[in-house]
Symmetry: D2
Subunit: 173 residues, 4 copies
């Protein structure tokens, strides 16, 4: 992703997302730091907690303080049954280390549609401030990421569970 | 741990625990497979889901079918702020792959007392059938694992949260 | 790194290096693919062999076929005594999978000056086509990467060993 | 492996090998520490350098000081083209941290016959004191580990290369 496309994207998008593979593309971080839109910074697949916080500093240092940090799964030795390993520890650790909101991305983390819901609920239970979930009216024919996309009924059911769980721990959706 | 100690331990213990470092100590697995006590088999710190299931087969093949599988954190590149990475994905994956009950061990997984509760709640939300939690009346002076042991009031509060969360998803404690 | 800086750098530099953190900065890969200078593509710290080869395809697809692949160490669970883990396997694997030359970067891989030489010799023995080594007349006072930079006498001695080793396996420097 | 088999094995074997999966089977380490035979201690697939040294201490503490440490590959995120990742860094690091001899096991580390030779030469170049290589007169029909076993001609050729390389760095075989 090129920094000089940021201004154009910022006209139309509500949130600027920095993908995991660009978490340390420093010129791009600087560019979104100068934009007037919130930024969702996704954790690189082998970025430590500290790497993620340091990447966020590039954005903050340029005056954009509307930064959300996103846990989307890390690379580990075990990738037979899932795409990445959702790092649930990262949620309480980041909540302690920074005031920035923490968003969970269970879709990319586990990468298997029928297992997205339990990982989502786990993210909420651990304290995530937000969720990013892939849904599709017909995921089996999606152009991209269909394997991990929820159907619309699955999404509706999951949101009911999320609400119930949030209330159980004194939070609201 | 030596296989010939199993018979003695089995007289006094309610459950035989195979530690993570012995998950592939095959003679020991064979020995507990012949015992008449339930077995808690802890996942090795770099064991894949498949390695864990195959280790359980050694116990089952000797006639002991009361085996619980325990996720206790895996080794990843990120170990500055936590002891291990709790593999939350493992819970729904194992629930699908086996009928054996899945126990979460958040204490060893994150290894930091004040973060044990969110990881515990995440484990319950993801579908864990059981929990193993370290508690201590005075953890700062514990002989072993004090850093990750809950105080008794913390444990009591956590159990209330676990109950509320379980009920929210239609389960009971 | 911004793609629009490539043309300027290409005027002065003999080789364009893509750093490990930008291995999947696809706009940048496209830009160096259009430049008329050789490219040293460093493997990301958690990039698989396949990720590296696919990243090289972005450069090749734009018409620049002077691409060198560089192994510079991967992220593993063991980082107490070294900075990264030099993936020696990657050298024979890449030699088989691609015709592109393979360069070893032992300095970044182990990150400790006194251990750079054995890892360098290992890289040569495994079949590396090139080496990238950090040297400094006074590494203890270097602005960057001093811990892993060889002194000039160390570099001279290492080059003698490299020559001897290359000859032993029928190659020349 | 059961500790009470050690005495029997020690009658017939020249060297007692502790397999990677038993590196932290502490009762077994204690038992070989009391035997009067050299011990080859293989590094666990996710054991740190420090874990390996601490495991060796169990043997040494029981009076057996003829211990060899063996690097046989670690578990990383990249396992498509090789079985494990040979940790070449471990050789110079261990040579500095301990006086015990370091043995390289390239067969298990890369797990692919045609790539065993380059990894072997790398191990020698990095300073390994010994090698353990799997060979078989007809590896395609071997009962175990055939994929990583050298044919006898391959083994002969490799030993010639090892000798040449050792001499190049002032060592002898």
């Amino acid at each position: 992703m090129s920094p000089n496309k940021v201004a154009l994207v910022a006209i139309y998008a509500d949130v600027l997302q920095i993908g995991a593979r660009n978490m340390q593309n420093f010129d791009l971080l600087n560019a979104v730091g100068q934009a007037h839109k919130p930024v969702l910074l996704k954790r690189g697949m082998s970025a430590t907690i500290e790497d993620l916080l340091m990447a966020a500093e590039y954005i903050l240092a340029h005056g954009n303080n509307r930064v959300m940090l996103c846990e989307r799964g890390i690379r580990t030795f075990d990738n037979k049954y899932s795409r990445n390993t959702f790092d649930i520890n990262a949620i309480p650790l980041l909540k302690e280390l920074t005031h920035l909101p923490i968003v969970a991305d269970p879709s990319h983390a586990i990468g298997v549609r029928r297992h997205v819901s339990p990982v989502t609920l786990a993210g909420v239970a651990a304290g995530a401030d937000g969720l990013i979930l892939e849904t599709h009216p017909d995921p089996d024919h999606a152009v991209s990421d269909g394997d991990q996309s929820l159907t619309l009924p699955q999404f509706g059911e999951l949101m009911n569970q999320v609400r119930a769980m949030a209330e159980a721990v004194g939070r609201s959706v």
